[in-house]
């Protein structure tokens, strides 16, 4: 009990807590992405991958609920403090949670792929996109946690190229002579990559976009 009462004076403040938990969500989803990609694209044997991926996804979902709960607590106690940050967090935690879902979807591709994806074929279509996404994970996290506008802008530019690349990959696959299983799997990977890139960009651009424009960075760019 004394420990609990002592905790009263040692507790972190709201923003430190939620930003810490959000960072944890991004680190976890990045780990999921890395594990799945190394198995799917580099044929690295990862024991109990399914169990690990689903466990991390559950953790990410719980962190999302925890952050939402903290936001409600915060707004109940201090309804006028950090309102914009709370609304922003409500939006970006959804993006982080979706990252977990798409990593899970990527894992599901490992279950339907009939033979290991040929590295040369993958490289021909994706041209290192998987590694670029890993960089985007870091950039988005740094942009959001450090409120770094330059990194947010850079992520935005990066996203544009990657999204175009994903669309281009699909067009190329449609015209290719790949087997049905290979084509479907590569198309799914391209599709999931595009969604991951979009959610990471949502997170990064939330630093520079007005609240009402969140998630619509592409429309904003088109207008500019």
């Amino acid at each position: 009990m004394f420990k609990n009462l002592l905790g009263f004076w040692k507790g972190k403040d709201f923003l430190a807590q939620v930003f810490g938990e959000f960072k944890e969500m991004l680190d976890d989803t990045k780990l999921m992405y890395e594990m799945v990609c190394s198995t799917l694209l580099e044929n690295v044997e990862e024991p109990d991958l399914k169990k690990k991926v689903y466990e991390i996804d559950r953790k990410v979902n719980n962190l999302q609920k925890k952050i939402r709960r903290r936001i409600i607590e915060h707004l109940s106690l201090q309804p006028t403090v950090d309102v914009n940050t709370c609304l922003l967090l409500m939006s970006v935690v959804k993006d982080a949670e979706r990252l977990g879902d798409y990593c899970k979807n990527l894992y599901e591709v490992t279950e339907i792929v009939e033979k290991p994806i040929d590295k040369a074929v993958f490289s021909q279509y994706f041209n290192g996109l998987d590694k670029d996404i890993l960089t985007l994970f870091e950039r988005a996290k740094e942009a959001f946690i450090e409120l770094d506008e330059f990194k947010a802008e850079a992520s935005w530019d990066f996203e544009h190229k990657m999204a175009m690349q994903c669309d281009h990959i699909l067009k190329e696959i449609v015209k290719s002579q790949l087997t049905v299983n290979e084509a479907v799997c590569l198309a799914l990977i391209a599709r999931h990559f595009k969604r991951i890139v979009a959610h990471l960009t949502n997170i990064a651009t939330s630093v520079i976009l007005p609240l009402s424009e969140l998630d619509y960075f592409d429309e904003k760019r088109a207008l500019e």
């Binding site: 905790g7 009263f8 507790g11 403040d13 709201f14 106690l77």
Partner: protein, 378 residues
């Protein structure tokens, strides 16, 4: 640096308003004494019917939405001798019921979302039902035996034996010059008749009391709310005892049970915490809120030298403490207010107008009617 300066400013302002609060209580005592014996006899006669006292307590507190103000005024009245401890006990009990109107009104803010509204009404009215049960049990018991008064008298005499008057004397030293100055100003220099000057003094003391409590609550809340938030998850979810202690501590600091219980309503409504978690905090808030009256009683006793003010403040404390000890530890008893509150929540979920009817009925219509009927029957 700026944040530290901000905190220091808040602490200084709290000290200032606390000082003014003590002055207002002393001033009130002087004003009541100035009205003379006739006024006291009249007031004592009016409140001699304990039911009228009870309903006055409910109505007055519901209207001003602050039991601290009601109980502080009652303490001031008892200290100055215009109200007996016996007559004041039902008013204090009524104030305990009346204070729950604030969080019930807060629950009405969730009107648009039915399910949330059900939980909000349940969370708010569990405090009402807890206090109603306490009154239903202890009011007749007190009328029959006077047990609260006896224990409180014993406690205050023990307190006096340990140097109670000496303990209160520092308050007298710091407040008396200002009280005397205001009295001197109003009686000797205002040009008003003595009676008018005392009425003005009473009005002034009530206004100062009200504003001081308002600002103390506001500043205290601003000062501690960040700390509370930081540990809300870690501390309050542990167990009921921690919940009760947290309720007592937070409410003693902010000097308002309404602040504590009103903060719980949106949390329960949103499903962040359950009724079972909120209930012990509410009980703790009930105990913590008695600190204001105890503080006022020291100021009153210091100004008038009448220990009765301390007795009534202890009655308030004992009433809430015994209520908590009687209801919370026994599972069957504990479930009663929760079940009643949940039933009212379900009713409000089906037809939301019931919640509004409940607020108007319990806090305003029924006490007003009963006061009128009691007077008419007399």
């Amino acid at each position: 640096m700026k944040a530290k300066l901000n905190v220091l400013t808040k602490i200084l302002l709290i000290a200032f308003f606390l000082y003014l609060f003590l002055v207002s209580i002393g001033l009130m005592g002087k004003a009541f004494k100035g009205f003379g014996a006739g006024f006291a006899e009249n007031l004592i006669r009016t409140t001699s019917n304990p039911f009228i006292g009870l309903f006055i307590g409910i109505l007055a507190t519901s209207l001003i939405q602050s039991s601290s103000t009601t109980t502080s005024i009652v303490v001031g009245m008892v200290g100055s001798g215009v109200l007996t401890v016996g007559n004041a006990v039902p008013i204090i009990m009524g104030a305990n019921i009346g204070t729950t109107v604030t969080n019930t009104l807060v629950s009405l803010g969730h009107f648009t979302r039915r399910d949330e509204f059900r939980r909000a009404v349940s969370a708010a009215t569990v405090h009402d039902f807890f206090n109603l049960i306490c009154v239903a049990v202890m009011f007749p018991l007190e009328l029959a035996t006077g047990f609260l008064q006896k224990i409180a008298t014993h406690m205050s005499s023990a307190f006096a034996d340990f140097g109670g008057i000496k303990f209160t004397s520092p308050i007298k030293v710091i407040t008396q010059p200002v009280i005397d100055f205001i009295k001197h100003l109003l009686i000797d220099f205002s040009g008003l008749s003595k009676n008018a000057a005392y009425i003005l003094m009473l009005v002034l003391s009530v206004v100062i009391l009200f504003f001081c409590l308002y600002f103390i609550v506001k500043l205290m809340k601003a000062l501690v709310v960040k700390k509370v938030e930081a540990v809300l998850d870690e501390v309050l979810r542990k167990n009921a005892i921690i919940g009760i202690i947290a309720g007592v501590v937070f409410t003693t600091i902010v000097q308002s049970s309404s602040v504590t219980t009103s903060l719980l309503v949106p949390l329960v409504a949103a499903g962040v915490i359950t009724m079972e978690v909120a209930f012990p905090i509410t009980i703790g808030a009930n105990i913590g809120t008695t600190g204001t009256a105890i503080l006022a009683s020291f100021a009153s006793a210091a100004a008038t030298g009448n220990v009765a003010a301390i007795v009534i403040a202890f009655v308030h404390f004992l009433f809430n403490l015994i209520g908590a000890l009687f209801i919370y530890p026994i599972k069957i008893f504990r479930k009663v207010p929760i079940s009643l509150a949940n039933s009212l929540g379900d009713l409000a979920h089906r037809k939301r107008g019931y919640a509004i009817a409940y607020v108007l009925g319990l806090f305003f219509v029924v006490p007003s009617l009963l006061i009128i009927i009691s007077r008419y029957l007399k």
